[in-house]
């Protein structure tokens, strides 16, 4: 079990999302950075779609009431166990009674804590993701609070073997694996981000000046930004002829422009439908970059074709498959060692 000593700024249970219910007006929710979530799960032997804790900017303080295998992926919020810095993107064994805490946000703003076995909360409409406004899913449908006890399911046999293996090098209440996922998944720590987009459905309805400004000028993420969306500040964008739009489906990464002229990027907690003109859609391959961006960051939008965006997405999925195979190989090596140990 995880005892929450301090909840942090916004710590919620999230899996990749609640799919299949948008037609009923139920939003997707889910991890802001699903890619980091998936790798975090794979690193502890979980199904990649298992739920983890999404930790935002100021991390929580969590006591482990039982031995656990964990991993932290996503933004670097200076994780520590019993006061000692631990490394991310790798399995870490945490001994019963140890305390996980966080420090400064070095890079990115959201980190995922996956625990072998998964966060044990009842799924609601097929998902463990927290839908805050409807108090649905997650831990009682809300962010974690001081004094909460979050249950963890029992780890699988591969994770158990790794726990056994790592416990041999235990010191100060934890033990890190000596291998990690390559840092090819880290993102630039710059506050100037190039974000690839494809044309939105209503791109051609915008004025020439708006279309030029969208790609030539930076847009700053304002503090009025959350899991639902980021409000941007930049040159005013407008339609050539004002038009009443009918509500229709929107996506993670849809950039819509309300009549005020300042764009909004829709994210994990977006509504299922929206009625503002869509100037662009962020390419899936850059979802992690936008999920880890923070207020004050400057975004530079780069146009790519839908075809290119899909090619990049397929390449990234292929890379993830390779990483998964690599991790599973590591797990099996440990398991074989473990079993041959029994024979001796």
């Amino acid at each position: 079990m995880l005892n929450i000593h301090k909840p942090g700024l916004l710590t919620t249970v999230q899996d990749p999302g609640r799919f299949g219910f948008q037609k009923y007006g139920v939003i997707v929710s889910g991890a802001m950075d699903s890619f980091a979530l998936r790798i975090a799960n794979v690193l502890v032997g979980n199904d990649e779609n298992e739920a983890a804790l999404e930790i935002t900017l100021l991390g929580p303080e969590i006591e482990f009431t039982a031995d656990a295998l964990v991993s932290l992926c996503g933004g670097d919020l200076s994780p520590r166990v019993n006061g000692k810095s631990i490394r991310m993107w790798r399995p870490v064994f945490i001994e019963q009674g140890s305390v996980l805490s966080f420090g400064a946000a070095n890079q990115g703003i959201r980190t995922y804590l996956a625990v072998a076995g998964g966060i044990n909360v009842p799924p609601s409409l097929g998902s463990k993701s927290t839908y805050l406004r409807a108090t649905l899913g997650g831990y009682c449908g809300r962010p974690l609070k001081t004094g909460d006890h979050v249950k963890v399911s029992s780890p699988g046999c591969l994770a158990k073997s790794l726990i056994k293996h790592l416990s041999q090098t235990l010191a100060d209440g934890y033990a890190e694996a000596d291998w990690a996922v390559s840092n090819m998944f880290s993102f630039p720590s710059s506050d100037r981000l190039a974000i690839r987009v494809i044309k939105g459905r209503h791109f051609d309805l915008f004025t020439l000046e708006s279309k030029a400004a969208f790609f030539n000028e930076p847009f700053v993420i304002t503090p009025q930004s959350d899991r639902m969306g980021y409000r941007l500040k930049g040159p005013d964008l407008g339609l050539g002829h004002p038009e009443e739009m009918l509500s229709e489906a929107v996506c993670y990464g849809t950039i819509q422009v309300p009549p005020g002229g300042q764009p909004i990027i829709l994210l994990a907690d977006r509504p299922a439908t929206g009625g503002y003109p869509k100037i662009a859609e962020i390419a899936s391959v850059d979802f992690p970059a936008i999920a880890q961006a923070k207020p004050g960051d400057h975004l530079f939008f780069e146009l790519i074709s839908a075809k290119q965006a899909q090619l990049l997405l397929l390449q990234k999925e292929a890379m993830l498959r390779q990483v998964k195979q690599g991790i599973q190989l590591k797990f099996r090596e440990v398991k074989i060692d473990d079993e041959s140990g029994f024979e001796l």
Binding site: F19, F21, E248, A249, Y252
Partner: protein, 239 residues
């Protein structure tokens, strides 16, 4: 069937079936939804019907590779062949859902405003609202929240200048020429005229919503006692 397909980002396709909403378009959209349910391809995540469109979300990596065709090209060809096979049969008769409403009082604090704004009595507002013929166009904004078409113009009223922080679930509101039912607690600026004892969103049920696109709605005025009795029965059923 006339339609166009466009990409919506790199993992969805939007099928547009008309420029303006109408009961006919609504019927076509539900036929497309049924067809998608029937074939339910492995690459499809879900679909989202709206006023004149239906969007299909998919996983590009789940589609068979067929260079130089992109996953989007593949989805389009699947959708084209599916859409060509849909027969424009006569619309099935709509389901009529009766929604009891306790109008006015603490449940409808804006009923006096709606009445005076339109220069009629509160009783007339209730009478007109509960005698209207309504059609559910789509669900959205919140779980189970119906976009309803068909409210008589004579009881239209503008939104509040500053929205209420919290509107109780099951409140019936008016905004411009639209009427709607708040399915969950949410901030909102609609003028509240009453409340229904019936839940619009119950996540434990399948489907989780009371209404679906294409439903006809009849509002029925009920008294406060009847409201409380229905709530009591509702609680008993769920616990």
């Amino acid at each position: 069937m006339e339609y166009s397909i466009q990409p919506l980002g790199d993992h969805a396709a939007i099928i547009e079936l008309a420029k303006d909403p109408s009961p006919e378009v609504l019927n076509t959209i539900s036929m497309v939804a049924s067809a998608l349910d029937a074939i339910s391809p492995e690459w499809m995540i879900e679909y989202v019907p709206a006023f004149t469109t239906i969007s299909v979300f998919y996983r590009p990596e789940k589609l068979p590779r067929a260079e130089p065709a992109s996953p989007y090209d593949m989805v389009c060809s699947y959708l084209h062949s599916m859409l060509h096979n849909i027969k424009a049969d006569s619309p099935s008769p709509p389901r009529v859902v009766e929604i009891p409403v306790c109008y006015g009082g603490k449940f409808g604090p804006d009923l006096p405003f709606v009445a005076s704004y339109n220069g009629i009595s509160e009783e007339e507002v209730v009478q007109i609202h509960s005698n209207g013929e309504y059609l559910v166009y789509m669900l959205g904004f919140a779980p189970g929240f119906p976009y309803i078409w068909g409210m008589p113009k004579v009881i239209a009223a503008p939104r509040k200048d500053s929205p209420r922080q919290q509107i109780p679930e099951r409140s019936i509101g008016i905004a411009g020429q639209q009427t709607g039912i708040y399915s969950i607690k949410t901030p909102g600026g609609w003028r509240l005229i009453g409340r229904t004892p019936v839940d619009l969103f119950v996540p434990e049920k399948s489907p989780p919503t009371l209404l679906k696109p294409g439903d006809k709605i009849k509002f029925k005025a009920i008294g406060h006692d009847e409201y409380l009795e229905m709530r009591r029965l509702n609680h008993a059923e769920h616990s």
